[in-house]
């Protein structure tokens, strides 16, 4: 191992990380890109139906990726144990996705194709994703729509009875399938129903209100998990031949995000601590259209689907002094439709990262609207008055009714009458556990699907692609690749007395005991909120060297504060929500530091990662392909003790673009 060649980091004794060996192989087949997936399916070893009954798989999480994977593996005849922390698998946060799901069906005859979806996704990801994976995602996308329709997902249809489409940010074709503003809900219920069918059939055993606490690794293979029964507090040990993490993203490291209250990194972080590499953790998506923060008590932020940008126009007053006027009284010539002005060809449909930063800049200039938060007004208008003069209110309601209603419930204002106020918020993370082409992590037998992995979106995810990826992984990719690993199974039978299981269980028990024994002065939420402010300020929409260094120091102090001064009441042997949150925040406090180190080391801007030192004259993200066209996959460098994160080890996976030419992204 060598220290990185990064003089500006002031390395030597104070280096924040060390560099390890590069990642040589992603296991993707060679040759033409359009038949790689077919060749991989063919080369993957199969398990015959009789032997499948002898195999078992643990699936953590029941969102689109987890529920679809568990149902599909169950259908194949394997024994599946499925876990979720909610009271029902149907609650997983995929349910909150609003806008739609992309598929290269070309039902519009508007020039779409698998290749174009592939191209758009790679470009949208700012050339930081793996070509092979993205191409496969585009290929599989069409099967997803077929599968979901067969399950009874009530997609929007036209009068002729065929499926309707809409367009979405970052693309110029209409390839997004949708179910009003509740596409995620309908797709998740489809997967949930398929899962419940397998539960009834006995192939899947469901454990609700169970949260994964630790991964069990035996002889280098992922063989089980320790979970906590959240009603009784009992720590349970479960074994299987393989473990699938589909535990979602870690946006809640920012405290305020559009994620669910319970969304967390614990399952992924525990795996990371056991040896799974964490890739590109700093790639965070800040969604441009969320309802602005209203006060200190705020517990979460609510997204307004970016599909609204199809018909809504974004603007702020040209003059800061107009900020307090009723927007309806501001004449056309005094409005700045800044996205349409700066990006004439994509206008309000520029990708999310660009739209978010543009909103930040106009607010930094003092032209934001709505109540002041600190010294600035943090909001811009999303105005439907043009659309309302073009379409009837009923037509608008059919497209966006539930979103408008939700906005009115939260803010007390009707978007039919007054322009919405919106501001960016943390929404999705492109980073996640590193996986190869088969979705296998660096721990054999540990697979990672959906938002929990890093694989397809590069440095920025396009709208309506998260649902596509979650279902692609769960229905079609993972079930075709995991068999290759399981063909060597079933593995040696083990029980709770195995040293690896005992060790895992004891470490979980010790961590819980410690959390309950500190009995300090700070609530879990107050520390989480402080962490969120640090992350948002220094590792949010815009990052720089000085801020990131400062953030790392602040996070370290806060982590010490947590482990010496947190107050968690009650015991383990009961339903204890503060204890649940404490365990999650403990892991966020470790992850936050790694995100800052990753952001610091990547001295370029790309997609959602914007370093203020690296921008074009126009203020756009400026990549540095010569030095940074790689995936940064981090190995845990710390010890067993909580909070001991040590120095992470950087492994680089070079991104080789054979089919798409690297270009500076332009949406002008």
């Amino acid at each position: 191992m060598t220290d990185p060649q990064a003089p500006s980091l002031g390395v030597d004794a104070n280096a924040l990380y060390v560099e390890g060996d590069p990642i040589a192989d992603t296991k993707a087949p060679d040759g033409p890109i359009d038949d790689k997936w077919q060749r991989r399916i063919f080369s993957a070893r199969l398990v015959n139906p009789a032997n499948r009954r002898k195999l078992s798989v643990i699936v953590i999480g029941t969102g689109l990726a987890g529920a679809s994977a568990a149902a599909t593996l169950g259908e194949s005849g394997m024994h599946v144990k499925s876990f979720c922390y909610q009271d029902s698998p149907r609650r997983a946060h995929s349910i909150a996705a609003q806008g739609g799901i992309n598929a290269a069906k070309n039902y519009r005859n508007d020039g779409d194709s698998v290749y174009r979806l592939f191209y758009d996704t790679v470009k949208g990801g700012d050339y930081r994703s793996r070509e092979d994976n993205v191409y496969r995602l585009s290929q599989v996308s069409t099967q997803i729509i077929d599968q979901c329709v067969a399950q009874g997902v009530p997609f929007a249809r036209e009068y002729g009875g065929l499926l309707d489409n809409r367009s979405f940010g970052g693309v110029q074709v209409s390839r997004t399938f949708y179910a009003r503003g509740q596409t995620g809900q309908q797709l998740l219920l489809g997967a949930y129903q398929a899962l419940e069918r397998q539960i009834a059939a006995g192939t899947v055993t469901m454990y609700t209100r169970h949260e994964m606490q630790e991964l069990i690794v035996v002889d280098g293979r992922a063989r089980g998990v320790i979970v906590r029964n959240m009603v009784t507090g009992e720590l349970e040990t479960h074994f299987a031949d393989a473990v699938v993490l589909a535990s979602g993203g870690y946006g809640n490291v920012f405290y305020l995000s559009t994620n669910a209250m319970g969304s967390n990194v614990t399952a992924a972080w525990r795996a990371h601590r056991k040896g799974a590499l964490m890739a590109n953790p700093c790639y965070t998506q800040i969604h441009p259209t969320c309802i602005p923060v209203s006060g200190d008590y705020q517990s979460k932020l609510t997204l307004m689907s970016e599909s609204l940008r199809n018909d809504g126009r974004i603007w702020v007053p040209k003059r800061a002094e107009d900020a307090e006027l009723d927007p309806r009284d501001i004449p056309e010539e005094d409005r700045d439709y800044y996205l349409e002005r700066i990006y004439p060809s994509f206008g309000n449909l520029v990708p999310r990262d660009i739209a978010s930063r543009a909103a930040k800049y106009v607010c930094d200039e003092g032209r934001g609207v709505g109540p002041k938060v600190g010294d600035f007004r943090r909001g811009v208008y999303l105005d439907f008055s043009d659309a309302l003069s073009r379409m009837t209110q009923a037509q608008i309601a059919a497209k966006y009714g539930n979103l408008f209603d939700m906005y009115e419930r939260i803010t007390g204002e009707s978007p039919y009458e007054v322009p919405m106020r919106i501001y960016p918020a943390v929404h999705y993370v492109m980073g996640g556990l590193w996986v190869d082409y088969d979705l296998q992590s660096t721990i054999p037998g540990l697979y990672v699907a959906g938002e929990a992995n890093f694989s397809d979106h590069g440095a920025n995810r396009l709208g309506a692609s998260a649902l596509m990826q979650g279902l692609a992984d769960g229905y079609f990719v993972l079930p075709n690749t995991i068999g290759d690993y399981l063909a060597d199974g079933p593995f040696e039978s083990i029980d709770e007395s195995h040293p690896a299981a005992v060790e895992a269980r004891q470490s979980v028990q010790a961590r819980i005991d410690r959390l309950l024994s500190i009995n300090g002065e700070r609530t879990v939420d107050s520390i989480h909120r402080e962490l969120g402010l640090i992350m948002w300020e220094y590792c949010g929409m815009e990052r720089n060297e000085e801020g990131l260094r400062k953030a790392i120091g602040l996070i370290r102090e806060l982590r010490t504060e947590f482990w010496t001064n947190v107050k968690v009441l009650g015991s383990n042997e009961e339903l204890n929500q503060a204890l649940e949150r404490a365990g999650r925040v403990a892991d966020f406090l470790e992850l936050g530091e790694l995100m800052c180190i990753d952001a610091l080391h990547r001295r370029e801007s790309c997609g959602g990662h914007f370093r203020s030192e690296s921008q074009t004259e126009d203020g756009e993200a400026l990549r540095n392909d010569d030095e940074f066209a790689y995936v940064a996959a981090w190995e845990f460098g710390g010890g067993d003790q909580p909070g001991d994160v040590g120095k992470p080890v950087l492994h680089k996976e070079d991104l080789v673009y054979k089919f798409i030419e690297l270009k500076q992204r332009s949406y002008k």
Partner: protein
Amino acid sequence: MKITVRVWRQPNSQAEGRMVSYQVDDVSPDMSFLEMLDVLNERLTHEGEDPIAFDSDCREGICGMCGVVINGEAHGPVQTTTCQLHMRAFADGDVIDVEPWRAEGFPILKDLIVDRSAFDRIIQAGGYITAPTGAAPDAHATPVPKDDADKAFDAATCIACGACVAACPNGSAMLFTAAKVTHLGLLPQGQPERDSRVLGMVAQHDEEGFGGCTNIGECVAVCPKGIPLETISRLNRDLLGALARGDRN
């Protein structure tokens, strides 16, 4: 605003519960109801008192995890989920009673948290279309009239929060059950299993201890997703038809 909340406290499913009164100061009208409880819980924690346990997850009205009875109404005075209820719906000085869903099919686990796993078992009894992964024809192979698709969607928006059960004097879960029967029964893909679905789901509904439906309509008055009472008529029609057609189950 200053308000008083009287909250059902019950340490676990076996223990006895009681209403406990708390004063909450500095309530902003822009707070959600659950954020008001968060603020109270922060204070309780500092005072060394066990914080109030309640379920919530997405806090944007779609996951269906939250739900409490507020002043005798499921989800409170506005027809929405508890997480989307904001304190502007209340007045300074109000006394607000907060209780868990109460129904035989929903045993209390702690404070305001109940066990709704019965809903999952009702879905297991037939609330799906058998379409194994990979077996699907092209999505455009079967056109679906827009009107049917829209009606199916309306029924499919049920979030399984359980407010319908909490509001029903009979403790019936028929609106929940009917929403799924209607969603799948309106689509061509749902026809082959239409009879077995309604028979299986209704039988499971009864087995879980939910009461029968007597068309009172309290359920639709509290449903945050506006599932119409018509879905129950549709379920009844399907049920009678299935029973008449005999033993396909």
